[in-house]
Symmetry: C2
Subunit: 397 residues, 2 copies
């Protein structure tokens, strides 16, 4: 049988990260390629207790069909939380609970983009979102990401085509670079979106994981024109396996997303939504987040120290103020691809080659991504030592 697939999916491929992760399951391989929260970051005891409580108190609530908008007490609580943080104050109909931020971002493309519409994103950017956008046949345009955020001139050039529907930005501790967009760049992107009639999709999965430096206001908090959607997730602050995220946007957009959610998967697992609600109301969220920040602060510092100690001086790297990733870059004349391949095959350390995060994997880059959240301290040190050895062998001291 010769299957004829839709144009939408015929050109998308399995994530390159997944291919590399296959190597990580081989015995003896240290993975600095993942993006999972540290296992010690999960509040196991609290979740165990709360899950039990859910079934003791109201098992039918956790088992019966629920509404597509999401568990109402959780929606109302998230509104209060956003208000308390000084972010912004969405009405109830300006927020929908979804199955992780991945679904929120994919749905934004489904709801807003026709094939050929332009979607601008940072280059590099999060591969999961890029593939989600590609699965709706959008015309993806990468805007160069600098130390303080995307190049606004480059963005405006693309906006001038009049075909840009969405601008996708991860402003805090971006995946894969760990970079944070400055307040000026956030304001600039907002003004440009407004000027050219585009919607900004601000993805903030790591916002609560700032372990150093000062908070920068979200673009959504500046939104007076109804042009910003803002997605977050419980994956990095509670647990990714429960698949709970949310997105806040103008109610016209949320209305469409509710219909979309209804036809795509009816509603998000309701046990997980009640769990998130009870965790937020019964536990000390600030103390929990401080614990997570301490874990990642430590792991990030350890990685930076090890890079400084071991890596060839040819390799430059970012110094993230939060999140899970460090981005390393080789000079233009170095063979990054050979480095990553030798790293995993000969030195048994997996990293993600930077082209996995480019609009097209054939786009030139000499960068690679390191993750510090998943490995143990011992693995992190050993992994960086091996990468250091290889880097010096290939590129000199």
């Amino acid at each position: 049988m010769d299957y004829r697939f839709s144009e939408k999916v015929s050109h998308i491929k399995a994530s390159a990260i997944r291919e590399i992760l296959k190597f990580t399951s081989q015995p003896g391989v240290i993975s600095l390629a993942a993006g999972n929260p540290a296992p010690e970051a999960f509040p196991v005891d609290e979740i165990t207790r709360i899950s039990k409580e859910i079934f003791e108190e109201d098992p039918i609530l956790a088992l019966q069909y629920s509404i597509s908008e999401g568990y109402t007490p959780l929606r109302d609580l998230l509104k209060k939380e956003l208000e308390k943080k000084g972010e912004f104050v969405p009405d109830r109909d300006e927020l929908i609970i979804v199955s992780g931020a991945q679904q929120a971002n994919a749905m934004m493309a489904k709801v807003l983009c026709d094939p050929g519409d332009i979607l601008c994103c940072e280059a590099p950017s999060f591969i999961g979102s890029l593939n989600a956008f590609k699965s709706y046949n959008v015309d993806l345009r990468g805007i160069t990401l600098k130390e303080d955020g995307i190049d606004l001139d480059e963005l405006e050039e693309v906006l001038k085509t009049g075909k840009v529907k969405l601008i996708y930005l991860i402003c805090n501790f971006q995946n894969p670079t760990g970079l944070t967009t400055s307040l000026e760049k956030r304001k600039g992107a907002y003004e440009l979106a407004k000027k050219y009639g585009a919607i900004i999709l601000e993805d903030n999965p790591y916002g609560d994981l700032r372990f150093t430096g000062e908070n920068v206001p979200s673009i959504k908090s500046m939104d007076k024109d109804g042009i910003v959607a803002y997605s977050r997730t419980f994956s990095k602050i509670l647990a990714p396996g429960i698949r709970v995220g949310y997105i806040s946007a103008p109610k016209e957009i949320i209305n469409k997303m509710v219909i979309c959610k209804q036809v795509d998967d009816v509603h998000t697992n309701i046990w997980a939504q009640v769990l998130a609600y009870k965790f937020m109301t019964q536990c000390d969220m600030n103390a929990h987040l401080e614990k997570l920040r301490a874990i990642y602060r430590h792991k990030c510092q350890l990685m930076i120290e090890q890079i400084e100690k071991n890596f060839s001086s040819k390799i430059s790297f970012t110094r993230p103020e939060g999140g899970l990733f460090v981005w390393c870059t080789l000079p233009d004349d170095c063979d990054m691809s050979a480095f990553c391949t030798r790293a995993v095959k000969e030195f048994k350390v997996a990293v993600v080659p930077g082209n996995a995060f480019m609009i097209s994997e054939s786009d030139h880059t000499t960068s690679f991504r390191l993750n510090f959240s998943t490995p143990t301290d011992e693995q992190l040190v050993a992994g960086c030592e091996m990468l250091g050895k290889l880097s010096k062998e290939m590129f000199g001291e």
Copy 2:
């Protein structure tokens, strides 16, 4: 702000059922309009115990990221179950776990259909699936559903266009009609799909809920040509709130669905997958299903009795051998819409007008759907008495 939505979603609307369900939350309204499992059908004690066990045994498994294909032990178990039932024997890469059968069906359209491709379905059919297909801009064609399944001549006429990608069928106790497709019609549909190069999507949410009559082999069990996909769900046999379903299809299609799943929502809530696995392995599934069948057999019989006793003889109705629904039809000169509206507004009984299940809500029908799974026996009797009173007032004895 004048939001420009994608063509895909600009024409889909919130389900008509949802609008009617709004009335059901008014005090005193009896709902025969839902499609929820009976609350007493949930194995609450077993689920409570198993959930506790999951967190005692391996909490990280239930909280960490998992793979897009689904929990491997559950995939392997479902293969064995299908084999044991004499259905068919999928390889592991011919089955993916998804967030309910709704997601499986929506994804089939995403993976296979370009805008304008024809998708044939029973008329009437399940509104959730129809809206999911519409959200990918397919050209939906309803094929008249008769007592023993769709009109095959009508199907062939559409297939002759050469533009049919998918044929969507609910062969067992169909939603909304409760009708079961005969073996002959199943074979006939398969042969036609093969002849014209179309894929059949066989949705079987109610298959385990046969409470009378003999099992009819699935179309998938006849598939020698790799042209049938088969979706099922735990919603009706375990709990819909956990959102776990699966689909088996040729591995080329499953491969595409895995990528689709990865970009749409990464993976299905892993706690729920482990729960389904443990329930199937630790509990007596046969005894559990017999209990469910007894509940629905009783409720269906009660509804049929009440219809016979109370309704105007002008109303004909189906006698389902399983599932959750009875389909009632008025003569062509009767005003079904007025009947449904008066039923909920004056007589405080909610039913779903049949046009909610047509390809277009403006398509003519004089039918309406009754649900017997959700109401209590008392509500069911009282509801049918009120509908009977109204029907005799409007249409005579």
